[in-house]
Amino acid sequence: MEIIVLIKQVPDIEKVRFDAEKGRIDRSSAPAETNPFDLNALEAAIQLKEKFGGSITVLSMGPRQAESSLRDALARGADKAILLTDSRFAGADTLATAYTLAAAIKKLGKFDLIICGEKTVDGDTGQVGPEVAEFLGIPHVAYVSEIREAHRDKLLLVSDMGDKYLVEVKLPALITVTKDLNTPRLPSLRDVLKARKKEIEIWNADTLSDYGDLDGFGVKGSKTTVVKVIVPSEKGRKGIIFRGEDAAERLLEVLREIELVA
């Protein structure tokens, strides 16, 4: 089974500083990591490869630093890694990102399955997966929380849409996965060392020129623009703190005040 896993490098969200007064996001204090949902996507690919054989290609778009996430993916079990990096890819919205990824996938050629995380922790959109599927003209299943049956030509999946649905999809297809799907395994030290020597292919806009229109990449290909970013100061919370023996009594009074209790 030929599997492609889409990966994004994101800042460790717990360490990013958000300055409400200046409306600034300070990533400098935040180390980069692989989007946590993407690790579940990679783990699913590894499990399928264990069953069917074949190979796993990890594909990412981003700055050169994103190589470290791809290297980590190689250590975890991916066979091949490709980084799409070019200033002409920069500033892409989800549409342009998906268009670029789809062009790269077309260049890669034959595949059976594309797996990605349900969303990223920085963009939060969850749109790139389904958009890639549309650009490739293949079906997708979102929010996959269980792969119930895997065959060479089709998958039987549980899709968590609030209620859970059983969905059969013919391959080739794309799935986006939730954290419930599996527990990603950690790479061994040996694998980490081995991955250091593996090559990461770097592709730019020219590499993709036979598979996509240059005007579809980056800012040019984007239809949405961020006109302003606000770091919201917390909604004026009252911040009344109770301590000690009668705290529960005080809370009851609060509940009475907000008219939940007579």
Partner: protein, 328 residues
């Protein structure tokens, strides 16, 4: 005729209420930029639901009622929406940011080659008459204001962020039965529901939530008791789901449910960014935690620095006594 299109999702034989909120917003937008408000509804044996969309603000409702639309086949649904947009050319297309909406909308946007803004919490018309779409990003830590080039301007919008309009039973509108376009094999077979969610947190007015501060699975009973006394439901932070204490449908946070109840009581929850992303917009937040430096207190209207094992039993007793005297 200019149109603002609202997608009406059918969920368990009813219209998901986010569609009504979007109709209210679409009316407000149409007053500023002109045009009609259109509803579009897909499914099987759903004709009878169409009038409700008019009562909530649609001028026209386009109905696609067909046995092949009974289950959500994303490609089939996409084909129909794309076909509609190409024929009727709406200015704006709003879709509820439900799991279904967030799976369907990007496919439609990509097929149309238009922009799509995910999970909006506010929509405004600026001085140029453009739609400003406001959405959280970075796990809810920032709000981005987004504009779209070209049309339709597409956005998915979170449930319970727009005001629910009043239902007007006397409102007039037109219901139009649509022909299904020819759609081939999609590669998808939706074989039905395998598990019904036990609780619908997104629609709850009161949530009593527990986190790592709980010592055992048994202690969830205490939360359940408090929730039922208040007429609410139980939510949890991710660790308790990971422990297997409760099903995922109870999980609140970035990888679970986003909620906006009238009252949120966080018991033994420290307030990780991931958890806050799921509940920070609740109307009133009460936090109970032993650690006075826990981040949750910064988001709370009322906080108790104390042990939930002392506070909750007292609270439960107090509520029981109040109920008793009420019944007397």
């Amino acid at each position: 005729m200019k149109g603002i299109l609202v997608y009406a999702e059918v969920e368990s034989e009813r219209i998901h209420p986010v569609a009504f909120e979007l109709l209210g917003k679409a009316r407000e937008i149409s007053e500023k930029i002109g045009g009609e408000v259109w509803g579009i509804i897909l499914g099987h044996e759903i004709r009878d639901l169409a009038p409700e969309l008019i009562q909530y603000g649609a001028d026209k409702v386009f109905v696609y009622d067909h046995p092949t639309l009974r289950e959500f086949d994303v490609i089939r649904y996409k084909e129909i929406l794309v076909d509609f947009v190409k024929k009727f050319d709406p200015e704006i297309f709003l879709i509820g940011a439900t799991p279904l909406g967030r799976s369907l909308a990007p496919r439609v946007a990509a097929a149309l080659g238009t922009g799509l803004t995910a999970d909006c919490i506010d929509l405004r018309i600026d001085e140029n008459g453009d739609l400003i779409q406001i959405r959280p990003a970075f796990t809810g830590n920032i709000l981005a204001h987004i504009k779209t080039k070209g049309k339709p301007v597409m956005a998915t919008v979170r449930y319970r962020v727009m005001e629910m309009p009043e239902k007007d039973l006397s409102r007039d509108g037109e219901i139009i039965e649509m022909e299904i376009p020819e759609i081939g094999e999609t590669g998808l077979k939706v074989l039905g529901k395998v598990e019904e969610r036990g609780v619908n947190l997104a629609e709850a007015d009161i949530i009593v939530a527990g986190g790592r501060g709980l010592k055992s699975k048994e202690d969830l009973k205490m939360l359940k008791e408090l929730a039922s006394l208040l007429g609410g439901v139980v939510g949890v932070s991710r660790p308790l789901v990971d422990e297997g204490w409760i099903s995922k449908d109870h999980q609140i946070g970035f990888s679970g449910n986003t909620v906006k109840p009238k009252l949120y009581i966080a018991c033994g929850i420290s307030g990780s960014p991931q958890h806050l992303a799921g509940m920070r917009d609740s109307e009133t937040i009460i936090a109970i935690n032993t650690d006075p430096s826990a981040p949750i207190f910064r988001y709370a209207d009322y906080g108790v620095v104390g042990d939930l094992y002392e506070v909750l039993p007292k609270l439960i007793n107090g509520l029981k006594n109040a109920k008793r005297s009420e019944n007397r």
